[in-house]
Symmetry: C2
DNA sequence: GTTAGCACTCTCGTTTGATGAGTGCTAACA
DNA sequence: TGTTAGCACTCATCAAACGAGAGTGCTAAC
């Protein structure tokens, strides 16, 4: 059996109506709402075919049909109007991104909020992976007696500070020596690389200043073991899930929210599979607790390099066209924003 | 009518049984479970009195009784066994706080997690109010051309960095001048005070270096307007609320979780009303969305000064004795931990 | 190939009735 | 006078029964 044009029209009608109403859609409804010029009976015949093809299914006899995962997939790939976002949304995004927020973290979390607002779904935004950015420069500043502020500047421009114990007998000059060693050895290496390969070089270099060694190593450890080197995940609009009729079930909600609390899971959802906007529908998802969710995601860039991704999570019954349009546009404007922000340098 | 000893015993029995089972408790149940040496009929008579006194109420005729807010209050104030925590819990807290975590933010968020684990309730922890801590010292470090890293050290030891635009023609010496002005003028003043009173002084001081003025002011603005100067609120175990039978209602959950997203509301809940552990029961709470919740909170200190508070939120039917014990012990160990941590200076 | 008609299925909301827990009242009892 | 047993009454809860409505699949006619 083949998909002909009428079958496509009917499938599109089913998907669109189900997305809008969340109710199984029957042959009569289609005949009434969508002008296909055929009677309900004909539609019923076609629907039986579509069911055989695996694109739609019946929750129970005598209910209408709902799209299967395969049905949504076919819809997204072949039937959907090209994703386009309303000028309203476009304007809103432009107004919001025009508010120049300097700190990168705020840009990201702001993005998450905006994304969930626009889509009425839950947004997931993955921030830049700090640990991956190469080491740039290190400074020491006076703090309390016996402690110093270590300021580390990464090559991507991120700045972090840590308070380190240095012992009371360490002078400013000695600190400066340590900083110099670090700056020479580490410049341009990612912290992950440092951990693996360069640690012993530094170790041997610093044996010359024996009394600083232990402290220097522990300082480094403080940076390397910092969990926050992991890319951070921002969520927005988690409550929107409660508005979806498919999540009127307490156990589902509990599992979902539990999953929301584990960054690791969320990261897997967003892992970029391709260029541009990617769509993962229902069971295509590897993670059990998101089997009846769909994810639309895309990556954003800084200076041409992919540094993170954004996405929305919703029930499989979501407005794919609208969401894809918004996610697409948001990554573009986020990339622009970051690039422009950097350009100021 | 007066409370006599038997009435007290019965009220205590009702509260305890209801806390344990979440079911309205009847006269027969009390006679069976608690050995009061009287028949159900007698208990019924007493219960009628207790109802008249406003300590218990009936959800409907022919159901058992449940404690009213006033009943819980009487229980907490007069009937409850003194809050005592199990040695298990005590050990767990001690093991957990022994893991020396250096960053204050992590200590706080770790506290929130632990608190919710121990109580099976939702924990709310209010971090120190950064903005309140007086300004201490300021440094500038080189960054990109035209930008510098401004490192601000507060008197409480907090370190923050901000990237500021300085214009291409500003030299390191000029930056140093600005830092000196700021350090002299602001040392020891809270940022809030600075905003109100000292801004124009700095302004007039800096007119001498006209070309730095605008940038200097915007730098200051960046620090002063920083939202993160607000005390941050950490939540733990929000999902625990879903396990409470009183929150098996979707609208309630939605309202509750919506409230969780607004830091302002949560802060009001924790606002310290007295020394030591304070208990707010149901309707005693001013905030509408928490009318059927109780809050147990206490403040923690750094060097004798109250800098934040922790608390747990649960249904009015919660184990007050246990929760109060845990909250009390946690504030103490948190205060110890912070004080010890600081002592290292 | 399309459509009308019809019997059939299944969900959903309502009704009904039985069950059981719990009360309040009264009268008997110590 | 306080306590208890007995009893009628109330009300939520659960399950079964039922009707209405929506939708299908099949058949026969167009």
């Amino acid at each position: 059996m083949q998909m002909d044009e009428r079958k496509q029209k009917i499938l599109r009608a089913i998907v669109q109506d189900y997305i809008a109403t969340a109710e199984p859609v029957g042959s009569r409804t289609i005949a009434r709402k969508f002008n296909l010029g055929v009677s309900p009976a004909t539609i019923r015949n076609e629907m039986a075919d579509l069911e055989e093809l695996g694109f739609i299914e019946q929750p129970h006899t005598s209910a209408g049909r709902i799209p299967s995962d395969a049905g949504y997939r076919y819809y997204v790939d072949c039937l959907m109007d090209t994703p386009k976002l309303s000028t309203e949304d476009k304007n809103l995004i432009e107004i919001e991104t025009a508010k120049r927020i300097s700190e990168i973290e705020e840009v990201i979390s702001h993005t998450a909020k905006l994304l969930s607002q626009l889509t009425s779904l839950t947004s997931i935004v993955m921030g830049p992976q700090k640990g991956r950015s190469p080491f740039g420069q290190m400074y020491f500043l006076p703090y309390q007696p016996g402690q110093a502020i270590m300021v580390v500047v990464k090559e991507n421009g991120a700045v972090e500070n840590h308070i380190v114990d240095i012992g009371n007998h360490v002078t400013a000059e000695e600190l400066q020596q340590v900083a110099t060693v670090f700056n020479n050895k580490l410049k341009g290496y990612s912290l992950a690389q440092v951990k693996k390969t360069l640690l012993h070089e530094i170790y041997s270099e610093l044996t010359k200043q024996r009394h600083l060694l232990d402290n220097a190593l522990s300082m480094l450890g403080a940076v390397l073991d910092d969990d926050r080197n992991e890319e951070k995940v921002y969520l927005g609009g988690t409550l929107n899930m409660l508005n979806q009729p498919e999540f009127r079930d307490f156990d589902k909600v509990k599992n979902l929210f539990r999953a929301f609390e584990e960054d690791g899971r969320l990261k897997k959802l967003l892992y970029p599979t391709q260029e541009g906007v990617s769509v993962t529908i229902g069971g295509e998802n590897k993670l059990e607790e998101f089997q009846d969710c769909s994810v639309i995601s895309a990556t954003y860039r800084l200076n041409g390099e992919v540094i993170g991704s954004i996405g929305v999570l919703g029930p499989t019954r979501m407005d794919y066209a609208k969401s894809m349009g918004i996610v697409d546009f948001m990554t573009r404007s986020l990339t622009d924003l970051l690039t422009k922000g950097r350009k100021r340098t």
